[in-house]
Structures are given as structure tokens and as C-alpha cells.
Amino acid sequence: MDLSVLWFGIVAFLFVGYFVLDGFDFGVGMSLPFLGRDETDRRVLINTIGPVWDLNETWVIVAGASLFAAFPEWYATLFSGFYLPLLIILLALIVRGVSFEYRHQRPEAEWKRRFDGMIIVGSAVPALLWGVAFANIVQGIPLDADHNYTGTLFDLLNPYALLGGLTTLLLFFTHGVVFVSLKTDGDLRERARRLATRTGIATIVVAASFLLWTGVAHGTPWFWILAGLAAVTLIGGWLANTRGAEGVAFTMLAATVAAAVLALFAALFPDVMPASNDPANSLTIANASSSEYTLTVMSWVALVFLPLILLYQGWTYWVFRKRVTRASIEAAAH
């Protein structure tokens, strides 16, 4: 098999990992104003992702580095082209990450409220903008012959891309809230379940319109299969949630995120960065990838280490498998 195609798959896999995992972190962060009725509630919410948000976020670092190594042209075009949106994502991720760590350092309500706000904004902004970014990648952006983006910030904020952003925002929100119902107990768990039922309907409507729009414009057979899978698991997850099968609902929604991301990569294939102005300027798997030797080295490392990574990350989730309860938070040291 052509190694550059394999790496297209590995990059897709790394972004799937990122959006499945950090996606529900964003959702939990955004749920604070809706589910966190008091300080203990809010601490319960934050502690459901406490041990894992950092490793979940690491997926985007590895995805970015893999893009750099395997597709330098794609990395260069994408990151310089989406300069301001990526800047805002970076600032949001900074704010969110330090807030988790700083929030519990002082007892004052005012202090905590400030960092709560930063967690909410720091979660909502990337959840929205990642969708905008990926929708623009699939749709294509104006590129010159050197593959440099020639548009402006406002070209990126087109209706299709904004619909993509709204899709990820709602999908991550619902996924995060289902995660909360899976990881907490009592009243909070029940409220989370009910909230997910309500937002789930909006998610289904918005995600279906986005995938339909994508399919009509860029559909390939693989796209339709994966988009169909995303739709089925989303509806299945929503049904499971209304019946209180939290584990099933969470797994189904994780599959929705994974299938939707893969569907976008399928719509993209074999381009990686289509030029909307002139197809001759498009970046493709072939003209954006690294040399055969570089890809060979990286393939060996990825094939050995990715299974190990999945193994020890899986173990972490198993270690922290218990529900976070109000009692456990109130009993714990600061």
C-alpha cells in the first residue's frame, strides 16, 4: 500500500481520537452553567474529566505533529491559512487548561466563578471553531499556485462552515452531557440524562443537515456509508439515553463522532486541501506528503506505539471507572 495513503488514514485516526475524547471534555466544560447548581456539583462535573482531559488534549498535539511530519504542505497551508481561528482556539485551550488546575487552588467563590467562566468559554470556542475549520477544509478554500491561502477571515465564516461549527458544538455538548450521566450519580446524573435528551434532538437535526449538505456537495460512496453510520448511531445513542442506558448511549455517540470525522476525511479523499478557486492548486495526498523514507520511519513507530498508547490510555479509563459522587468530592482533600 502507498504509505502516504496510510498516513492519510493515521491522521484521520488521530483526529478521530481527538474529537471523540476531547469532544466530551468540551461538552462537560460547556455543561457547567446548565448542570452545576452548586459548588459541589461543579466540582463533580470537573472531576469527571480531571484525570483525562490532558491526555485527551494530547491527541491534537500528536495529530498536528503527524500532519507536520507526514504532510508538511498540508500542515503549512492549513495552519497559516487558518491563522486567526487557530489563534482563538489556542487561546481558548490555554484558558481552559490552566483553569482546571487553578480553579481549586483557592477557596474564594469569586475566584472559582472566574475560572468557571474561563472553562465554559475555553470549551465552547474550540468546540465551535474545530467544526468551522474542518467544514472549510472539506469545502475547499482559495489557494494560490504556491498553496498559500488567499482569502480572509470572513471567507472562512460562510454558512456551510458555520453549520459545521454548530454541529460539532451540539454534538460535543450532548456527548459531554451523556458522559456526565455515565460518570455521576443521583440527581446530577438524572438531570444530565434529561438535558441530553433535549439537546440530542437539536443535535440530530443540525448534524443531519450538515451531513446532507456535505454529501450533496462532496459525497462519495464511502462518505454516504460513514455519514449513514453517524446518523444511525446518533439516533441510537439518543434512544439509549432516553431509556437510561448510559453506557450504550455514550458508546453510540462516540461512534457518531468517529463516523462523522471519518466521513469528512472520506469526502476529502484523495485531496487534503482542495482549492476552491482552481483545482490545479489543490493539495492532494500525493503532492502534500513527505518522502517515502520519512513515511517509512514514521510508519514503523506508529505501528509499534499506537497500540501501546491505546493500551495504557484504556487502562487509565479503567482505573478511573468509578462514578464521581458528591460524597467523594466532599470527603476529599482540596
Binding site: L55, Y75, Y293
Partner: protein, 470 residues
Amino acid sequence: MNELLDPLLLARWQFGLTTIYHFLFVPLTIGLATTAAVFQTAWYRTGKAEYLRITRFFGSIFLINFAMGVVTGIVQEFQFGMNWSEYSRFVGDVFGAPLALEGLLAFFFEATFIGLWIFGWDKLPRGVHLATIWATAIGSIISAYFILAANAFMQNPVGYEINAEKGRAELVDIWEVLGNPVVLAAFPHTIAASFMVAAGLVISAAAWHLARNQHLDTMRPALKFGLWVMVGAGILTTLFGDQLSLAMVATQPMKMAAAEATYDTVCGAAASFSVFTLGTPDGSTELFSIRVPYLLSFLSTHTFDGCVEGINDLQAEYTALYGPGDYTPIIWVTYWSFRWMIGLGLLHVFIAVVGLWVTRKGRMPKQAWVWKVAVWSFPLSLAAMIVGWIFTEMGRQPWIVFSLLPTESAVSPNVTGLQVLISLVAFTLIYGALAVVEIRLVIRTIRNGPPEVGEPDPESGRIEPTTTVY
């Protein structure tokens, strides 16, 4: 106005500021993870509560830092593509590989095990929990290797070929990139220096409490540990720094000439090391200086009759090789950063040796000034590390990849000056605000002293540590 919006200049300022800022947290992460691991091991083996308290004390300072290291690190990776897209296109085939290896081999490892360590105190068997902090420490050290290998390629490109058709450098031997003589010296030099910074923090925190005659049971062993690490790591930093300067002379002679502001080629006794100079800012005219004869010859070649090429000769040589242009770094920056790095580094080893002497056999100096000096260990050792990096990176200029790509050709052509100005201002504001919060939190944590860890269980006689929650 046009000068204000020069994308190249702004992008360089942004990269410099964000990198320095990121690097305030990296050496502490590396050094403090190991410090916590050592004390937790001591607790594991002896069961003494003091060791657990020291572990949790420095562990909590480590955690305040760690979050900052993570989030500012993402900026670094994104910035290559955002601001330096031409660089990314040119070197991605070579430079991307160590970054991806760093992610796959080290970042995931570090990020996973730190979570297990913070939240796993009551969930994992003791031995396994101890292993998680060692895994975090080892992960951070492995990650340093890969990022330094990537940086070494910029200083001394090896293991590549130029693909003229694609207009880029391509990897031909990964082992050559990972075995670059520059990284072989820079890695132990940087890791040892990171331990100096962590030791500086341990000394500062311990001295603050000991000066107030409090927490003696925990802060005395901590101080002793800090002082010994400072001496040991200081010696290693010096030895590997010496190796690094040999590699530098062999690969980037201009950097050494700029470090010394040596304009003309000098040999033997004339190749003197100036400890201190008063002169014009660029060092071209000297008014007064203190010089050690032969020392520069020895540093550069390990012989007393070696020659050190001067800036003027190298400039002529490079003009012949690479075409017309100015191949000289900013001399006053390289000259003074090199001196401050060495001066502050050696000062710390000296202070630590004195510290070991005045605290020998459990003595406790009564003089307040001794402790006041000791409290400055941390900021000054961190400053030594930072000026060292300023020297390394500014000494590479005007190249982004030495001899292959000038910095001015590396910047993103489609990112406007205004865009970079916006991001530079945004990073400066947010980093500044976070620095204030961070420093206050660290000082507060130090002042609160080592946390209580509870009484031993009456049946087992062991302490059951409580877990951390957010």
C-alpha cells in the same frame, strides 16, 4: 507604521516571547517530576511521613507548573505552521519526524501518567502509583531528547538531502538526525541544567522556611537534596556545556565568534576569554576588559595553541559560500547572554558548595543574609537557563536552519503584519496575566508549607494518602 507591521519582525518577537515563556515551565516540569519521584521513592521505602509531605509539597508546585507547560506547548507546535509556513514546507520532511516521534513516544506517555499520579493516590497500589511519577519524569526527559534533536537540525543540519524539484530538505537518515553531535551534547547539558533549576526551586522554598525556623523536619532534608543536586547537576551542566561548545565551534564557528565578540582570528594566548568588557555595544571597540589568556583557545579546541576564527573572516567566508549578505548575529546579545549563562550557572554551583559547608553535620546558619541569598536560587538559575537559550537561538541568526534557510525566507507569506500583531498582543496579554496568577499561586503554595498527610492507620501502621481532586 510599516516597520511596526513588519510580519517577519513581529513573528520573530512572537516566537521568541512564546518560546521563552514556554521554557519557564519545561525545566521545572522535568526537574520537579524527578524530585517528586525521588522523595516518593524514599517514602515508599522508609514509610516516613516527612518524605510523603515533601513529595506532596513539591508535587503541588509541579502541578501548578505542569498545566502551563502543556497549554503553552501547543502554541509552539502550531506556530511553526501558522507563522513559519515556508520553513514548515522546507524542513517538514526532516523536522516533522522528531516532533511526531516526540508526540507518539513521550507526550501521550507523560500526559497519561501524570493524570494517574495526580488522581491515583487512593486508587492504585503503592508501587504502581510510584511507577506513575517515574513514568511522568521519564516521559518528560524523552520528550526533551526529540525536541532537542529537532532543534539540533536547525543548528547543524544532518541526515538530509535537498530535493531540488520539490524545493525542500528530505530525510535520508533518521539515525543521523537523532545522533546529531549537537543534540548529543545539548541534551545532557539541558537536562542537567533543568535539574539545576528544580534544585534552585527546592533550595529557595526550603530556605524560606528555614530562615523562619519552621518545618525543619521536612525542609532540612529538602535543602540538603537541593544543594547536592545543584552541585552535581552544576558540574554536569558545565562538562556537557564544554562538549556543546566544541560541537558549536565545529559546526557554527560564527556563533562562538559572536559569543566572544572576536572580530579577528586569534590563536594561542591571544585567544583569551573576556570575563567582562566595557566598550561599544556591538563589541567592536573595547574600552576596558578583564581577560583570561588561552581560555578561549581551550574552550574552543581543548588545546592551548588552537585558533578561533573571527567574525570578519567568517563573514568573508560565508559571503563567498552563500552570496552577499550579513551573516553576523547581534553581537551584544550573544556576547552578554553567553556570559550571563556561564556566570549565573557557576555562581549557583559556588553558592551550593558554600551552602553544603555552612549546613554540614546538621548546622543551621543564624545569619539572615545566608537565607536571603539562598531564596534567590530559583529565579537566578531559571534566568541562567533562559539566557542560555537566548544565546543558542540568537547565535543561529540570520539562519533559521544554519546554511540552508535564512530566517527571513521562512516566514508565512500570506500572514499579514496586522494578523501577527494581533496574535502577539493577545499572547503577551494572556501570558502576562497568567504569569501573575502563576507566581502568586506558587508563592502561596510555598508559604503554606508542606501539607499534612494524616496519621498512620492504627492497624497497618501505614499512612493512607488522600487523593487530589480539582
